[in-house]
Subunit: 203 residues, 2 copies
């Protein structure tokens, strides 16, 4: 029954199908609000079949969350000492916003989890995430010391990037309700956020 690594073609395909369906359902209803029947329906499989590939509902959820963590942190990982600090930071903002556009379900999955106190992610946040953020905060502190960007708290700078970019995925319903039809929130946000961070960080 140990099925950590898919062995056959069928296993690989069905596990992927299930995770895709689960992402859809969990991101829309949260862990508690999602049911195995919903996921099974979305995946086009029977409920016992789901439980043939995953030991429990929680296992599906955990697999999704941990599998997504890397994807989610990738844009931040890419930011490094390479080029112009201002360009690095604006690039990070752009990539993060692009993720809100391309992967809104993933964003809402995390949001659901964290709003409810991150019961299944505490460890990942305090180790992997904290380590990466602390590392990049140090990098930013260096840029500030060199006078290449303005002096702001690096941790809160990173928080502000998360808050502003993820807002457009997580609170999409609100953003669209307020803007009304015929406006493209994400495209508008791109320009707005570029301006915002340019002005904030100009030395």
């Amino acid at each position: 029954m140990g099925m950590e690594k898919p062995r056959t073609r069928i296993q690989k395909k069905n596990r992927e199908t299930i995770l895709e369906a689960a992402l859809e359902v969990f991101s829309q209803h949260g862990f508690r609000g999602a049911t195995l029947d919903m996921i099974a329906g979305a995946a086009g499989l029977s409920k016992p079949n789901l439980l043939y590939y995953f030991p429990s509902k929680e296992a599906i959820h955990v697999t999704l969350l941990s599998g997504l963590m890397d994807t989610w942190l990738a844009p931040l990982r890419e930011m490094d000492t390479g080029g112009d600090p201002m360009e690095e930071l604006r690039g990070y903002v752009r990539r993060k916003l692009q993720m809100s556009r391309d992967f809104p379900r993933e964003s809402r999955l995390f949001a659901n989890e964290i709003v409810q106190g991150a019961p299944r992610m505490q460890e990942g946040l305090e180790t992997e995430l904290k380590a990466l953020v602390d590392e990049k905060a140090e990098l930013i502190r260096g840029w500030i010391a060199q006078g290449r960007i303005a002096d702001v708290d690096p941790h809160h700078l990173i928080f502000s990037i998360w808050a502003l970019t993820q807002h457009y995925a997580d609170f999409d319903a609100q953003v669209r309700a307020v803007l009304g039809e015929g406006r493209d929130p994400l495209t508008e946000a791109e320009g707005f956020l570029d301006t915002l961070f340019t002005r904030l960080l100009a030395p």
Copy 2:
């Protein structure tokens, strides 16, 4: 059992007790994750007793949401033509951040609802909220036309204030995990956000 307006002292007190308990439970577990037993337990009442004061679980939830809408919009309502535009906007940011400190449960209640597509708030968002935001956006547009603050999209400016302030309540678990012990996120945010919006809006 029409009980829209509490008639007796007992009714008033118990309805308040129930709503307070429900806020605690719903904000922590979401609508689906909360159970009547949890709410009853938190309220110190029996489950059938809850249903004596409210017709259903959903009715409790809806009562909470609509009752909170006004509180939630109050800080934005206060922003008007009165004083210096920059001071008005910074004041709004300060008040909104204060709400994240004072009413994190209310913030998470809304967040839970909106992340899941605002199934029980659509109307409120598209009417009451949109109207208020459009009105204030017009006000901001006026300030921009007068050259008293920088030229930024008013709607996205308001979104950015929401995103940045509510982030500290809604994603508290993440913020604290990353910052580690011994830092006070909300106090640090106050200075950071003041700087951010001052630089963004300087004419």
